[in-house]
Symmetry: D5
Subunit: 96 residues, 10 copies
């Protein structure tokens, strides 16, 4: 089941760069593992901003909650969740 | 080059159902032709609303403008465009 | 799976009262059938407004979409959907 | 009498985890005691966010005020209160 | 129990003045009857606008809903409801 | 002459409780003195929030400004001022 | 006593130009009479928009209400009222 | 040429009162010098708020920019600029 | 002197296409004449929307007002005006 | 390909002036190098504010992202990106 998730990162301007770097490295590894599993189906950068637009494929709302709250950058993010479904005009049989 | 486009349809409540049906049929055909060409890369329905979230792959801003203003439902839509690019955490080499 | 849905009804001020009455009667029957099936788990009136707050229990996002777009008053409603899950402080084992 | 209450928690990013943990433990105990008494009738987590949607059953506005301002997390919450009543389409005799 | 209610009237610019006058006369009579009963405790005009700020004293949320939806101008109003209680700094024993 | 004033208090979460308590005590005394003089005609608590809705009876705009900026909590408040007048539907001769 | 009033005119696009012209002529005469009396102290056009920013000098809130609701264009205006007073940095003794 | 400028002052709650007092004294002197020169044509206090509404008469946009960024309180202000011109209903020949 | 002007066109969906076409033709001629004179310095289409972003070079605010209110599409536009000046980081001596 | 970019600078009020000066000097050099290359086609100051409106000419969305995130002031800016294209009423053959 699909969810559209918009994430805006707001790291404090005075955060220690080493600390920030370490969190970002864990964030990347976390994201790539979920992409490999097919849970984090798409991730795109919003041009010019420290924001991404992502598509998640989760079992249910609880699964999505577990995935998002596990993000290493979660305490520094504004998140907006929108549930999606297959569009009747899609040329695909499934929700790709 | 990718663009995130959110479309909200606002058909007048008193539109003749036959007219509305004909516009929607042309909209679907127009959308599916662009999906087949790889220009309209994704289209998802926002659950519960007469809205979609779409990803377009266009040559440039002018191409996107031409594609969107050609939508049969265009005069009845609110549209929000966000330019995207590949995310550095993506597991893919390209912008899929 | 639960969804919080806020619905605001905006019937045109000049709608024929007989037409409005007929739509409302169908809306009530539709709502009560879904309540009996356990899909529309709660419906409350917002005091002083022509709005309700509802909790739906659906199989997935597509099921919710089907249920909401089938509402007789759907063309005259503003709708906001929020996906829910069990709260860790709940005293219940399930999502009641 | 019912109230819909939406609570968003905004703990400072630099709060001592031990302090945060202690406040959350008191919050959970406070919430569960009120749930057992039937005052905090429902609590649901908003998927992906540090927010909940709750239904309170209080004697009057003053009772609601006393209950909410007693929340251990109250100084760190944004709260929105909406008074509710039984919906005329409800299949129940009371405001369940 | 007290409620703060802000009402903004939006009569269509092309409404027949005789119809508008008749609705306003019924509105005034309705308001004055409720003031006499002590239910509509205060009504003030917002200077320069077709808006009022009112204080209602109702038995409960359902009573408030019944009172507001009975307003002859109700279909032409935007309404915002805020539940109130006695302020701890008030010099009065009750909620006056 | 009447003014509707909405006040939201935003004390810093890390303010010394003794300092906060002292300011609140002065605020209460200041408010009660003005209530006794008939200047601060009404004060109500917004249920569930650290906000009040008040009605002031001042000689003119300058008097209102002097009264509000003298509030001990003034540096920690968001304030919204709305000038009022007697409503033509009021059952009273004056602006009560 | 001074008030800052921002007025935005929204004449229906399909209004008969003769009717619009007649209302505007009455509006101008009404405005100029009040300017001559010193009640409508300033009126400026917002560059590029069908809006004005005005300063009114009225006896009290009720006087302002009477003046504004008497505007021939009043049914077609959005109005925002802000009460003013002399600024302590003003070089003038009064509120000019 | 006229500009409407709204200024909201947001001094940090923990600013040293001596520092704040010194900045305010310079602000007042700066404002009064410009008023004497006819550049800062009007300044009014918004009743109840730490805001002013001002009218500036500048040679051009660059002159306005120079005047505003020279304000001693500039780093602590939110500023909104609106270009004005003479209103066709004004009884004056110029833009007074 | 420069102004940034954002224009959003909102033609009624039911406008006669011949009437709309005639207004748009006059709009284009009007725009091109002002571009030739150097008054309308730039005009760009916002990709995907019926909006433009323009830069005007006018003598003063009154000149801008005259130019904008003369637009054939003016009654069907939402307009936002922002006064500009040369940026200190510009590589040009003037405001190009 | 063109993009409209609005940038608002929000330097912390307590930033060391020497640090701020050094960042601004690097920002200016960075901006001027890109202007010389034709990438940063226009930059204008918004009169009275610490904001600019800029036009960028980039190869694609990824190029724009690289250019913007390289700004020395980037961590202290709010940025809004709008993709542009040639307007059909432009008198120019290209997107100038």
């Amino acid at each position: 089941m699909l969810y559209h998730v918009a994430m805006t990162v707001r790291l404090p301007a005075d955060m220690d760069p080493a600390v920030a770097g370490e969190i970002k490295a864990r964030e990347k590894a976390y994201s790539q593992a979920l992409q490999q599993q097919g849970v984090w189906r798409h991730i795109w950068r919003v041009a010019g901003l420290y924001e991404n637009v992502s598509i998640f494929d989760c079992r249910d709302n609880a699964h999505l909650h577990e995935v998002l709250t596990g993000l290493p950058l979660y305490p520094h993010m504004d998140i907006a969740v929108t549930p999606l479904c297959r569009h009747p005009s899609s040329v695909r049989e499934d929700d790709r």
